[in-house]
Point group: C2
Chain length 439, copies 2
């Protein structure tokens, strides 16, 4: 792709409304733009990264036997009343009446819909287990949207739902998703820690949250280096109460004891990117969703549910992969893994060399952005760093005099001069190496 | 994929609520399920076909230089008031107040958002033309949802917006999309006729609708075989009024004269699957979205907009590709192009032969569904016809005695016996041949 033919409105100035690094950089690098409080448009570069995140999630979910579906966002309030959650959900759930006066909601999650969908159509224990998932836009009337797409009123979520015949089956389904989540986050370049969590309004028993440590994270994570214990704040507080028989201080400190081994805990801020739950029969019992077991008896499905904040992954990656100059994308979800920066494209021999390299790399199947703008080399280099392409190729009269190009990794400070003829194999080798870094 | 590991709840009975073929077959083949009036879930097979339609649209839009973005569905009412459309849009547009009392809408279309997004960021004539598109869920409070996903309250749409410096540029952008739309529908197996159309609430000048002739279509199309004139009913009525100076009968009949050449017209029912508009400066003027022209003057963008009903494509394909036994998918968007139907899988030599063929075809990169259910051969064959896989491979003791498999196209009545060793090349050849049929 040529820069002039896409739309990348980078910003010199730091937007004042942005409080955290990821929000600032996503605006400055031309990935997103704000429409109104809590709503954002994804521009072409942001969309490319988003599609890569979606591709990784889809691949890993399918590989684990997940079946992709698409469920309505528009849901009758009636099914939420049947499950008892209509009253439990706060003002975050958007509610309105349709033109016939029927109460509707924009579903913040889909336990009710999926349970009713599977009910009566998955009939026998022989049809189990099943894991159905979707990648869908969700709406949440946030009291105070902030941090760009980290806490926005509209966001993409991957939600999956497993159906099993018994607790042992659920344990297997849950463990499988536990593994899948680890791979998804690792492939996106995130170090996400699974921590024990409370189940809250979702109900059910076991639950893990996937937390990306970040100074600006809004969630608090407790870790113990002694026994490996890791929990959300709420879970830590309830664990501590159970262990000591006393309510601990509501704000954990690093000197507090681990509820498992008593050693001092570590308190981290983090961004939540995923959450998995063992629901058990909470929804299948109340919605009467049953299957026939081996003995011919009707039994409620044993369910699990598994969420990932798809758009939030982008923000979490930017939040944890940047330096003073800009973003440092992992290869796997970079909008383009390679940028070509020509210095003085007006010079005919430079133009010729640039076009020939661009042709060679794109024909080899690489996704390359060619910065063909009529701006100074300095501006191009600044923008390349700001957007954070993993590999930068610089071509100038100077490099061409040596029949060379200059190759630089965003993650390193020094460029390397490479013979022009070696450009493609060198870039491929670097891409492989960088890809390995994120698993 | 093995049938037992996905979720394909086919129905023997014809659902009584379904009035048209596509709705009936999409329910019976296990592609969709109704949640409530006008809202549908896409099950795994429906989702696979939907993802293929999306893939075709994305490929053709990108090839034509379209830039994919994602715009908020949640929009402040204020921008609709600024464009003057807040009052014009009927009760189809879903409106509500957020928790702070701010008026919000679920955007049925995105001219306001995209115009404001481009305004101030695409600054110069040198940055033009641009074509930004998205594939996004839309909400419409239908007075009477019907025909399954043909007229539903929630649906996927591809909407694109072009920005040009002058009318000549718009003409080029419009013509490009005209070509792209032809290719998209042809690749999906649809014979969509572009007809002249009125612009309605979108405003602007020229407009074409893409119409798929179908007995159950809700739109009326006028065609003249004499001069090639093709128009929507409204456009025909206004053309006729212009030509004759008199208002014609509001319900055109096949004996009415063509407004261009006077020969008798043909009146068809059709399903609208796309709509393209030359908007001109309607939105850019009122929202003050301008660029600097060559002479250094601020000028409003010359815009076009281009919509496709993504989910409706699926229904239109099923509506026009079926027989008494079920759907007849084009290869391009079939959930699986190939199904393997084993007769008596309990027989060890049959199972062995089936597994070896399944392995061979999937390893060759083909998408194959293996019907491994413990049901009769008759049930499997009926379901294969109902779902409408383009190629059916039958394996039984009888075919294996001849070291053969039975190959049958869904579009033909007679199967062919093929030597087992020739199975893969024969299937590949058929897939190529069938793919060619839809361009």
């Amino acid at each position: 792709m040529r820069w002039s033919q896409t739309h990348i409105p980078t910003l010199r100035e730091t937007p004042t409304e942005a409080e955290v690094v990821s929000h600032r950089l996503m605006l400055r690098a031309g990935l997103i733009r704000k429409l109104s409080s809590g709503t954002y448009s994804y521009l072409p570069l942001g969309m490319r990264s988003l599609l890569k995140v979606i591709g990784i999630i889809r691949e890993e979910m399918n590989r684990a036997g997940g079946l992709e579906v698409l469920l309505p966002a528009l849901q009758p309030a009636e099914i939420w009343k049947r499950s008892g959650r209509y009253a439990l959900m706060g003002p975050e759930m958007i509610r309105f009446k349709d033109r016939h006066g029927k109460e509707m909601v924009l579903g913040p999650t889909h336990e009710e819909v999926i349970t009713l969908l599977v009910s009566g159509e998955v009939r026998s224990y022989r049809d189990l287990p099943k894991n159905l998932y979707q990648i869908q836009v969700k709406f949440r009337d946030e009291p105070r949207p902030r941090f760009g797409v980290i806490r926005s009123s509209e966001f993409l979520m991957k939600d999956a739902y497993s159906f099993d015949r018994d607790e042992a089956g659920l344990a297997v389904s849950y463990q499988k998703m536990y593994g899948v989540y680890g791979r998804i986050f690792a492939r996106c370049g995130l170090s996400a820690i699974p921590v024990e969590a409370e189940t809250g309004v979702m109900g059910g028993k076991d639950s893990h949250e996937y937390m990306v440590p970040a100074a600006t994270g809004e969630d608090v994570v407790i870790r113990c280096s002694g026994c490996g214990y890791a929990a959300s704040k709420d879970k830590f507080l309830s664990n501590s109460t159970q262990t000591t028989g006393q309510s601990p201080s509501p704000e954990p400190k690093s000197s507090d004891p681990c509820p498992k081994c008593g050693k001092p805990i570590e308190v981290l801020s983090a961004i939540e990117v995923g959450h998995i739950f063992k629901l058990g029969t909470k929804y299948s019992s109340i919605l009467e969703a049953t299957f026939l077991d081996e003995g011919g008896k009707q039994k409620p499905f044993i369910m699990g549910c598994y969420g990932i904040g798809v758009t939030r992954i982008l923000a979490a990656v930017v939040e944890t992969h940047s330096d003073d100059s800009g973003i440092r994308w992992p290869v796997s979800i970079a909008p383009y893994p390679v940028v070509i920066v020509p210095i003085n494209l007006a010079e005919p021999s430079t133009r010729e060399a640039v076009e020939s390299l661009y042709r060679e790399l794109t024909q080899a199947g690489l996704e390359v952005l060619l910065d063909d703008r009529e701006v100074s080399g300095g501006v191009k280099l600044k923008d390349a760093d700001l957007i954070g392409f993993p590999i930068r190729i610089l071509i100038s009269e100077k490099t061409l005099q040596k029949s060379s190009i200059e190759l630089k990794l965003r993650s390193e400070t020094e460029p390397t001069l490479i013979e022009r003829a070696q450009a493609l194999p060198a870039v491929k080798k670097l891409l492989d190496k960088e890809s390995l870094l994120v698993g």
